[in-house]
């Protein structure tokens, strides 16, 4: 069956009333997650996984994917209206978006952001349809050494870009790999680092670890200080002028392309795309000095890039089983929980599911465009819930989410422990994105490494004797070295870390 026919089949599944409902619920919940400051897309998606436990696999993935890209849309609303980014990718939108709001042009900023997001997301999904099947076929020829090298490249990119200190990013990457060791050894089935706890035989529960690192730790950091409720700007007319559309057209085009290509690279996060788009627009503008004062280009470009990135980032997941960001890692975990292994075999073994999810991305993008603008008033009301109530509700949901995965109180202890660890790591300026990725990829990396060494009877040369793995590893080393050189003078920059995800 051709790819176009497969896509049509995907549409026929995604357009069923049940799956439309799942996509709709996912879009709404994702937008709420994006709107709420303090709940990032990674923790938010993990938080809502339990809601999908008893859904059919296709419905569950459609809903979780909708939560993921819905959060990308929603993050913009708080950035523009309140100067508070709902998620990391929207930080840069605060610069000009909020300035526009202060000038009474909040509605225009939100309209252009939604239109740009729609175009970026839809074009990237088209790219996904075209690029993913041949990439998956190519990946079928990859052996363990190539997979190991590809994962090493993805991680090196993430760590190289993760913060000011490459040492801290690498340390976090290693910590994630170590956390992935807990449980059964992937080759011999021998328990490791389980401390005699039967609950740890299957490894640390990833939902609890991710929610602890990204959800609970954020709440602990926020409650340290008295949180004051922010007053948002009023939403004016949503209709952009002809000049606004003209000014936004090229930034949207450039943002779409930039976000798409950066999204293809494992390790690149959406925030990098939006920051790069902003920098590009500023450089290409006739009035770079006016950026930061309410230029529509500063909203259109980054918002488009962010959403184009979000959809394109699904390509490495679908074709090679490699998550490019913590949120995609959570999505990958959801695939695995539903008995599906993301990677080249997904297109071959589950074409109905994968094409239905791809089709749902188109539908979800249309839904978000239609829903978001008229519902802006409702999202603003969500923001009026005082944080002193909100933090308790979020914590309650993390507890419910963590418990319901295995029905085990042990996972609640894991959640608390990793919440506290995440809090301490953030205090020490360690970037957390590398931990999330290496934690998910750790067992796969170990398996690929050990299988490679079994193939070569223990010779490490297998990684350099095969051209693809050799090329990928050289690239990984170059990226790490260039990042290390950037921080070589042993000064403050090198000692502090911080997350590029913010």
């Amino acid at each position: 069956m051709g790819d176009l026919q497969n896509l049509m089949m995907g549409f026929s599944i995604a357009l069923s009333l049940q799956n439309l409902l799942f996509a709709f619920i996912g879009c709404m919940m994702g937008t709420v997650i994006g709107v709420l400051p303090g709940v990032g897309p990674a923790a938010g998606t993990a938080l809502l996984i339990p809601l999908t436990f008893h859904l059919p696999a296709t419905g569950a993935i459609i809903m979780l994917a909708a939560i993921y890209y819905g959060a990308m849309y929603g993050g913009t609303i708080t950035s523009v209206l309140m100067n508070v980014p709902g998620e990391a990718s929207s930080v840069v939108v605060c610069l000009d978006g909020h300035q526009m709001a202060l000038k009474g042009r909040a509605g225009v900023a939100l309209s252009i952001a939604a239109i740009g997001s729609f175009i970026g997301g839809t074009v990237a999904t088209l790219g996904l349809c075209v690029a993913a099947p041949p990439l998956a076929r190519m990946a079928l020829n990859f052996g363990p050494p190539e997979f190991f090298a590809l994962m090493a490249l993805g991680l090196s990119l993430l760590m190289g870009l993760a913060g000011k200190s490459i040492v801290k990013a690498l340390m976090m990457g290693v910590v994630g790999l170590i956390l992935g060791l807990v449980g059964m050894d992937p080759v011999r089935g021998m328990p490791r680092f389980t401390f005699g706890q039967a609950e740890l035989l299957d490894g640390l529960e990833f939902v609890s670890v991710i929610m602890g690192f990204f959800g609970v730790s954020d709440i602990l950091l926020t409650v340290e200080t008295e949180v004051r409720q922010t007053v948002g700007a009023k939403v004016s007319s949503l209709m952009p002028t002809r000049q606004d559309v003209r000014d936004s057209a090229w930034p949207i085009t450039r943002g779409t392309l930039l976000g798409f290509f950066l999204g293809l690279i494992p390790g690149m996060t959406g925030s990098i795309s939006s920051f790069m788009s902003y920098a590009m627009e500023k450089k290409m503008s006739k009035y770079p000095d006016k950026f930061g004062t309410g230029m529509i280009e500063g909203v259109a470009g980054p918002e488009t890039a962010n959403n184009s990135h979000a959809n394109a980032a699904l390509i490495p997941l679908f074709t090679m089983g490699i998550p490019g960001s913590p949120t995609i890692a959570v999505l990958m975990g959801a695939f695995i929980m539903n008995g599906l292994v993301p990677g080249p075999l997904l297109f071959k073994d589950h074409p109905d599911l994968v094409w239905a999810v791809i089709a749902s991305l188109y539908i979800g993008n249309v839904m978000l465009l239609i829903l978001n603008l008229p519902l802006i008033g409702m999202w603003v009301k969500v923001l009026k819930i005082p944080y002193s109530i909100l933090f308790a509700i979020i914590l309650a949901f993390t507890l419910v989410g963590s418990y319901s995965v295995n029905g085990s109180a042990f996972d609640l202890k894991t959640l608390t422990l990793f919440g506290l660890l995440g809090y301490l790591f953030k205090k020490l300026d360690f970037p957390l994105a590398p931990v999330a990725l290496t934690f998910i990829l750790g067992p796969m990396m170990e398996l690929a490494l050990r299988q490679s060494l079994i193939m070569s009877q223990g010779h490490m040369t297998i990684f350099v004797s095969r051209p693809i793995s050799c090329g990928l590893l050289i690239l990984a080393v170059i990226i790490l070295l260039s990042s290390a050189l950037r921080t070589l003078p042993f000064g403050t920059e090198a000692v502090r870390g911080e997350d590029s995800q913010i």
Binding site: P50, F53, H54, S165, V167, K168, L170, M171, V174, V175, L177, I178, L181, D185, V187, R188, M190, R192, F193, V216, I219, L220, V223, E224, T225, P386, S388, I389, F391, A392, I393, L395, A396, L399, V400, Y403, S404, G407, A409, L412, K413, L415, T416, G419, L420, Y423, L428, E446, L449, R450, L453, I454, Q457, G458, F490, G491, T492, A494, V495, R496
Partner: protein
């Protein structure tokens, strides 16, 4: 919020951050030593190739090397300003501690008291003591968050949440 590098700080404050980073790197070094030690108890190499101890051993060595580099960077690097928000105020620290304690307590009692009662207490405490909300708001949020969530998850979403292991409470539907 961080101090700008231009702001001057006393030598003691500069040393404080250095000391914090040094202590943290020692923790990482101790953890790597534990990892290497444990991995040596496992098979490092077998006929088929690397054994279960192979990966943890090299991860331990790598973490130790990175921690050492960080320790050196922290020790010989330029002094750093102590961050405004690094040490929470007394009330802030109490709030953080209260949440952690409440989460641990919840984990401890949830199978015993059941989800509904445990969550009612959890939310009630957080909203009254930390959130300083009035009794009406607290009651509404705590009841919806405990009984409401239990109903929705168990009846509609088919997700199992624990009932109390105490017969009397279980008979009351808790």
């Amino acid at each position: 919020m961080r101090h700008s590098p231009e702001r001057s700080f006393g030598c003691e404050e500069d040393d404080f951050m250095k000391r914090v980073y040094q202590i943290a790197s020692f923790f990482f070094l101790a953890f790597s030593a534990y990892l290497v030690f444990e991995s040596r108890q496992m098979e490092y190499y077998a006929d088929l190739g690397p054994g279960p101890g192979f990966f943890p051993f090299w991860l331990g060595i790598t973490l130790a090397a990175l921690s050492t580099i960080w320790l050196v960077q922290a020790s010989i690097g330029s002094p750093q300003a102590i961050e405004d928000d690094f040490i929470p105020g007394r009330r802030g620290a109490l709030r953080v501690l209260s949440i952690v304690v409440m989460m641990v307590l919840f984990a401890w009692v949830v199978d015993f008291l059941g989800f509904q009662l445990s969550m009612l207490i959890f939310l009630g405490f957080l909203l009254i003591v930390l959130g300083r909300r009035g009794p009406m708001v607290t009651a509404a949020v705590a009841i919806v968050g405990s009984f409401g969530v239990y109903y929705v998850f168990t009846r509609w979403l088919d997700v199992n949440l624990p009932a109390s292991s105490i017969e009397f409470l279980r008979n009351l539907g808790l």
